[in-house]
C-alpha cells in the first residue's frame, strides 16, 4: 500500500531528524570553539563574559539546554515542539525567519540548475547509449567524467570573467537583481515568481538575466554525473529481453528507445535525489561567487560566527528537505516502475 509506505517513511524520517538534531546539538558543544568570547570580544571583563554566557543560555547544564531547545521546558522559551528554531546570536532575528528568507534563493538556483541539467543530460545520455563505442559516445563519456570533477566556484569565476568582463553579456555578480533595483515584495521568496506576481516583467527579465550564469555553472557540473548514470542505465535497458523482443518484432528504433528510456529513468531517480541533497549545502560556493544570498552563505556565516541556533536550524532544515526529496523521488520511482509495489 503506497500510502502506508509513505507514512512509514515519514515516521522514520522524523526519528532520523530528531537523532540528527540531538547529534548536531552535542557535536557543536563538544568542539572547543567558544561562541561567548566571539560575541563579547577578546578584552571583555569577567562580568561581561558571564552576562553574555547567561544571555546565550550557555551557563546551564547541557541537558537543560537540550530540553529547552527541544521545547520540553515550557513556560520559559519556545523550542522545537512549539515550532521555534530559536534566535540567531548574531542578528537577533528568529532563525526561522532568516532561513525563510534565504532558503528560497538556493532552492530557486538548484531547481533551475537541475531542470536544465536534466534537459541536457537525458537526451545526450540516451543518444550516446544508442550508438555505443562511437566517437560521440567516447566524447560524451570524457565530458561526463570531466564535468563531474570540476570546482564549480572556479567555473563561476571563469564565466564571470569571460561573459561579464570580456564580453559584457552578463550582469556583474552582485546579487539576484541589480543593486539599483528595488526588489518586489517577497511573497514566495523565489525572485522569478515574485516579480511575475508583482506584474513587473522588466524585473522578471532582470532576475532571469542575473540567474543565467549561476544556473549555467550548476547545469555544467550536474550534467556530468547525470549523463553518466543515464548512459549506464540506458545501456543496461537496451540489453534487456523486452528490447530484444521489441526489435525482433520490428518496432521502429525511436519507439524502442522510448521504452528503454522509461526503464532507464527509474534507477536514475535515486542519484538525482542524492545530488539534490548534496547541492543544497554545496551550492554555497556558487552563491558566494555571485553574491546571491542563499542558505549556503547563511550557513557559512553562522558557522564562522559560532552562531549555534542558526547552525542547528540550518542543519535541521536542509536535512529535512533532503529527506523529503528522497521520499518524493522514491515515490516517483515506484510510480514509474510497475515492478515496485509497496
Amino acid at each position: 500500500m503506497l500510502s502506508r509506505y509513505i507514512i512509514r517513511r515519514l515516521l522514520i524520517g522524523v526519528v532520523q531528524l530528531l537523532g540528527l538534531t540531538v547529534a548536531v546539538f552535542f557535536l557543536i558543544r563538544i568542539l572547543p570553539a567558544d561562541p561567548v568570547s566571539r560575541l563579547v570580544g577578546m578584552n571583555a571583563s569577567a562580568e561581561a563574559y558571564g552576562q553574555a554566557q547567561r544571555q546565550l543560555g550557555l551557563d546551564r547544564p547541557v541537558m537543560t539546554q537540550l530540553a529547552a531547545y527541544l521545547g520540553l521546558a515550557p513556560g520559559q522559551e519556545a523550542g522545537l515542539l512549539q515550532g521555534s528554531l530559536g534566535t540567531s546570536w548574531v542578528t537577533g532575528s528568529t532563525v526561522a525567519a532568516e532561513i525563510a528568507a534565504y532558503l528560497p534563493v538556493t532552492l530557486e538556483l538548484i531547481t533551475l540548475g537541475f531542470l536544465f541539467a536534466f534537459a541536457v543530460a537525458v537526451p545526450v545520455g540516451m543518444l550516446s547509449a544508442l550508438r555505443p563505442g562511437g566517437r560521440a559516445d567516447k566524447g560524451v563519456f570524457v565530458y561526463s567524467l570531466f564535468a563531474g570533477s570540476q570546482p564549480e566556484f572556479w567555473w563561476g569565476l571563469l564565466f564571470v570573467y569571460v561573459f561579464f568582463y570580456q564580453l559584457g553579456w552578463a550582469p556583474p555578480p552582485l546579487g539576484r537583481l541589480s543593486p539599483m533595483t528595488t526588489p518586489p515584495d517577497a511573497v514566495t521568496g523565489f525572485m522569478l515568481i515574485d516579480t511575475l506576481l508583482a506584474g513587473r516583467l522588466d524585473k522578471f527579465a532582470e532576475a532571469a538575466h542575473h540567474l543565467v550564469l549561476p544556473v549555467a555553472v550548476l547545469t555544467f557540473v550536474l550534467s556530468g554525473p547525470i549523463i553518466k548514470m543515464v548512459r549506464q542505465n540506458m545501456a543496461r535497458a537496451l540489453g534487456s529481453d523486452f528490447v530484444l523482443y521489441a526489435n525482433a518484432a520490428g518496432l521502429p528504433r525511436a519507439i524502442v528507445a522510448r521504452y528503454a528510456l522509461r526503464a532507464a529513468m527509474a534507477p536514475s531517480m535515486t542519484l538525482i535525489g542524492i545530488l539534490y541533497g548534496f547541492m543544497l549545502s554545496g551550492a554555497v560556493l556558487v552563491e558566494s561567487v555571485f553574491s546571491l544570498g542563499g542558505i549556503g552563505q547563511y550557513a557559512v556565516r553562522s558557522v564562522l560566527a559560532f552562531d549555534y541556533p542558526a547552525i542547528q536550524g540550518v542543519v535541521l532544515v536542509i536535512t529535512a528537505i533532503s529527506l523529503a526529496v528522497y521520499l518524493l523521488l522514491d515515490i516517483l520511482h515506484a510510480l514509474i516502475d510497475p515492478r515496485i509495489a509497496y
Binding site: Q16, L20, A23, V24, L27, I28, L31, P32, A33, S128, A129, P132, G133, D137, K138, F141, V142, L145, F146, G148, S149, Q150, P151, F153, W154, W155, L157, L158, V160, Y161, F164, Y165, P172, R231, A235, R236, L238, G239, G277, F278, L280, S281, G282, V284, L285, S288, V289, G296, A299, V300, V303, L304, F306, I311, V314, V315, I318, T319, S322, L323
Partner: protein
C-alpha cells in the same frame, strides 16, 4: 551491480584517457614531494612586485633565454603575482603537498575505519552491527559541506581537523561498500570450508573474508581522493579551510576572486586549472580501475 552484468554495449574507454589520468596523478604526486622547493620563489613569502600579469606569449622565449643565461634581474613570474605579491607559479606547484597530504590521510583514515567497521557489520550481523549501520546512516545524512565546515571551523582550522572532518564524511561510504561486498563474499564456499575446519569466526573474518572484500573500497579510493581535494578547496574558498598563507588551490582562487571583475584573471585561473586537471585525473584513474577490477 558490476560491469560484468552489462551487455557488450558498454562504451569503450579510450586508452589514451587512462594514460592521461595516470600521468596527471604521477605529476601531482611528484609535485607533492618536491613542489615547494623547486619554484623560483618561496610559496609563503611575498615579493615586491604586486599584481603583475603573467608574461605574454611573445615574451616567453626571451625570458627563457634570460633564465638560462642568468641575465635576468629577478626570476620571471611565469603565472604572474597576486594582489599581495605572492608568486602564483610557486604557490600553484607547492599546493599539491597541502591538498594531497590532506586527501591521502583523510582517505586512508576513512578507508581503514570504514573497511574494518564494514567487515564487522557484514560478517557478524547482530543487534550491535545494526546499531552501527543506523549511526552510519545518521552520519551520512548530515549535509556534507556544512558538516565539514562545522567540524573544521569549530575545532580550529588546522590540517589535522580538516583531515578528521573529511574522514567523518567519507567513512560511512566505505562502511556501506565493504559491508555489501562482505555479505556477498561470506556466502561463498571458502567461508563454509573454513568453518568446517574449526577456525574461529574472527580469524575467518580477518584472514579470509577481508582480503577478498577490499576491491570496491580500493577502487572508490581514487575517486574519494579527488573529491577530498575538491572539498578541501571548497572549504578554503569560503574561509573554513586551511589558514593563509598556506599554499592551497582553493584559498588561492578565493583571494584572487575579488580581482577577477577588475580583469586580473591570473591569480584565480591557474590554481583552478590545476584543481580541474587533478581531480579529473583521479576520476579517470578510478574509472579505469573500476573497469579493470570490478568485473567480479
Amino acid at each position: 551491480m558490476s560491469t560484468s552484468d552489462l551487455p557488450a554495449i558498454a562504451p569503450a574507454r579510450p586508452d589514451w584517457l587512462f594514460r592521461f589520468g595516470v600521468a596527471i596523478v604521477a605529476v601531482v604526486t611528484v609535485l607533492a614531494l618536491i613542489g615547494p622547493h623547486i619554484g623560483p620563489y618561496s610559496p609563503t613569502l611575498t615579493t615586491p612586485r604586486v599584481a603583475v600579469p603573467p608574461p605574454g606569449l611573445t615574451q616567453i622565449p626571451g625570458l627563457l633565454w634570460g633564465q638560462i643565461t642568468g641575465t635576468l634581474p629577478y626570476p620571471p613570474h611565469w603565472f604572474g603575482t597576486d594582489v599581495s605579491g605572492y608568486d602564483v607559479f610557486s604557490r600553484v606547484i607547492a599546493a599539491p603537498r597541502t591538498d594531497l597530504v590532506i586527501a591521502l590521510l583523510a582517505n586512508g583514515l576513512s578507508l581503514a575505519l570504514g573497511v574494518l567497521l564494514g567487515l564487522l557489520a557484514g560478517y557478524f550481523r547482530n543487534a550491535g552491527t545494526e546499531l552501527l549501520m543506523r549511526v552510519s546512516d545518521v552520519m551520512q545524512s548530515f549535509p556534507v559541506f556544512i558538516s565539514a565546515m562545522v567540524l573544521v571551523a569549530l575545532a580550529g582550522r588546522s590540517t589535522a581537523n580538516i583531515i578528521i572532518a573529511l574522514a567523518f564524511v567519507y567513512t560511512p561510504i566505505y562502511i556501506r561498500l565493504t559491508r555489501a561486498e562482505v555479505m556477498a563474499q561470506t556466502a561463498r564456499g571458502f567461508v563454509e570450508a573454513a568453518r568446517a575446519l574449526g577456525q574461529p569466526e574472527l580469524q575467518i573474518a580477518l584472514r579470509h573474508v577481508l582480503p577478498n572484500s577490499l576491491t570496491p573500497a580500493l577502487i572508490q579510493s581514487s575517486v574519494t581522493i579527488g573529491f577530498a581535494i575538491l572539498l578541501t578547496a571548497g572549504l578554503s574558498f569560503v574561509g573554513a579551510g586551511v589558514r593563509p598563507p598556506t599554499p592551497e588551490w582553493g584559498l588561492m582562487i578565493s583571494t584572487g576572486a575579488n580581482q577577477i571583475i577588475l580583469g586580473e584573471w591570473w591569480p584565480s585561473v591557474f590554481p583552478g586549472i590545476a584543481i580541474s586537471l587533478t581531480v579529473f585525473g583521479f576520476a579517470v584513474l578510478g574509472n579505469a580501475l573500476e573497469r579493470r577490477y570490478a568485473g567480479g
